[in-house]
Structure formats: structure tokens, C-alpha cells
Symmetry: C2
Subunit: 189 residues, 2 copies
């Protein structure tokens, strides 16, 4: 996705060989035109797949998932990171380790929002080691819904998450793949 | 906003005299048509106010803030609840007590995303005791930007947050006010 590559080159900040900061348009400040374009591109790639629901994880996944949902006309469910007191009844949950924050969190989804008849598209902003993605896949499996695939905004191709998911036979659509961040340079894959 | 009132009556669950659960369309599952309509209504109410930026707080505020931002064609900044390692440099922050989770969190915004020349609209899904809203107001004050007002999806009129903000002279636009939740009944204000 050329528009997104341009934005990454203009505004992305390479913090280390592993970390690309895209706070100015995706993770902290949101550029609505770009987010809408991202949503449209994800919707385009899955538009023949009968998706009935989008699953994402708070917080950074919500904006892109909503943009795709507006285009695809299906609801979004976002997994919660710490089970709030209002999340009652049967819950699907999975452990997710955050390499950025160096902590394990449990993500949860109320069971009544994922139906076995659903065809689910997982959307997230980043795919690196695959911790969040695997947690979301686990939740879809618990619900017995059909997992259509994953729509990822930025994949760090030099980390193992995407490869592991594809090896499992899952369809992973990535809008932009980063091949390397060494020497402070963004190289696309 | 009649559409939202209907949705609350149809799908809202009164958990206690203080807590209304709207997980099926606003806080956990998102109804994209409704979220877009909410964004349009907030945009309509502030469309003559020269808003240059929307400020919200993760996670539930992000969807409605983005929907308003798409309509108003301005960026969104969402305050982060736990300062991530990628949030570096000068930061504005405020303490926010969550009555639902019974814990104090520090919310943070990178200083470079709020400019003294900005005209800021704060958006959030709920206004009850006003803890989150006051934290966001404090962050706008730290930035020396102009606070245009607050756009709130659901205000609990029987709790003091909205009244306190209005007493300070702030403009608070609420799409739906709940007057009472006693006896398991939703009464609008």
C-alpha cells in the first residue's frame, strides 16, 4: 500500500532494530484519511470472503478495525486487556505477552459476541512476534467460529509472527511489510 | 439523539443503579452504522467552532472520536493509560481514578501532538463522575491549547461530572443523558 509506505518514510521513527514508532498517524495520533484508506484496503482484500464480524484488540487495533467495519458493514468486537467488572457471563480468554511492555496480559471477549456461525476477520495494527494475533486466533477457536484470516497494517517481516501463522495455514494479508530496521533505516519487504 | 436512545432501550443492560452496560454496540462490540451516526452528530454540534484536533482516551473513546474525526477532517489523539516505552520526550499527563475498576491510572499524551494553536474537542463515550474528562481537560490546559468543548455520547445526569464541568464554564454536548437507572429502568433526562 503505497500511501502507507510514504507515510512511514515521512513520519515513522526507527527507535531500535526492532521498534518502528508510528505514533503520529497510527498508534497515538490518528490520521483519519489514512485510517479510512487502510480500512478500505483491508475490506477490498477480504470482500469475497463472507466476513460477518471483525475481531481486534484494544487499543491501537480499534481505529483500523472500525474503518474496515464501516466499509464491510459488519460489527467489530475488540478484546479487552484487563477484564472489566462489566464483562460478565461466559468469556473467551487467552494469555498475550507484550514484548514492548514486557508483561503478560489476559485478553477477554464476551462469549455472546462470537457465534459459531460467524466468519471472523482478525485485524490489528502490527504483527511482530505474533503474540496478540495468536491470542486472538485462540479466542476464535474457543468460539468455534470460522477464522477467515488476518488483516495486518504493518508486519515486521524479520520477526517470526507472520511466518508462524502462515505455516499453520492461516491467511495473513499485510498492507506493508518491513524487511529491516537496521541502521535506523526502514527497508520494505 | 433518537437512534441512540432506541439502541439503549433495546440493548442496554442496567447492571446497578449506577452502571449501564452498552457492550453490544459501544464498549466491546461496535455497531459501525451507529458509531458513524454518533460521529456525525458530534461533528454537527461543533462544526462552527474551528476544531483542529480531537482528544480522547483509550480504549472506548477511540471509535467515536475517529468517527467524528472522519467527518470533521481533523486528527485524533488518544491519551494512553499506561505510558508505553515508545512514548518518549515531553509528555502531558494527569491522574484519573476509574470508579469501575477502582484504580488510579496516569493518562499521558506526547506533547508534540498538542500545539498551543490547536482548538481541541474532547470526545468520550461516557461521562459520569467526570474523572476521565477532567484528566483530559487538565492535559489540554498543560498544552496551552484552546479547549472548544466536550462531546459525550452518554452522560449519567445523576452523577456530578457534567454539572462540575459546566460550572467551570466548559461547553459539554451530550448526545443522550440518562436521568436515572433505578429499579433496572433507563430514564432519559
Amino acid at each position: 500500500m503505497e500511501l502507507l509506505k510514504q507515510k512511514i518514510l515521512e513520519q515513522g521513527i526507527v527507535i531500535s532494530d526492532n521498534i518502528l514508532k508510528v505514533d503520529s498517524f497510527l498508534n497515538h495520533q490518528l490520521d483519519p484519511d489514512l485510517i479510512v484508506a487502510i480500512g478500505q484496503e483491508i475490506a477490498r482484500r477480504f470482500h469475497n470472503d463472507g466476513v460477518t464480524k471483525i475481531l481486534t484488540i484494544e487499543a491501537s487495533g480499534i481505529a483500523v478495525a472500525l474503518a474496515a467495519a464501516i466499509e464491510m458493514k459488519v460489527p467489530v468486537v475488540f478484546a479487552k486487556k484487563n477484564k472489566p467488572s462489566t464483562l460478565q457471563g461466559q468469556v473467551y480468554s487467552a494469555g498475550v505477552y507484550s514484548f514492548t511492555k514486557k508483561e503478560q496480559v489476559t485478553i477477554s471477549v464476551a462469549a455472546n459476541y462470537l457465534d459459531p456461525t460467524d466468519r471472523i476477520l482478525i485485524i490489528d495494527d502490527f504483527l511482530a512476534m505474533g503474540a496478540a494475533a495468536n491470542g486472538l486466533v485462540e479466542i476464535v477457536q474457543q468460539s468455534n467460529a470460522t477464522l477467515v484470516g488476518l488483516g495486518i497494517v504493518i508486519e515486521k517481516g524479520f520477526q517470526k509472527g507472520g511466518q508462524e501463522l502462515r505455516t499453520k495455514g492461516l491467511r495473513v494479508e499485510t498492507l506493508v511489510t518491513i524487511a529491516s530496521l537496521t541502521d535506523g533505516q526502514v527497508l520494505f519487504g
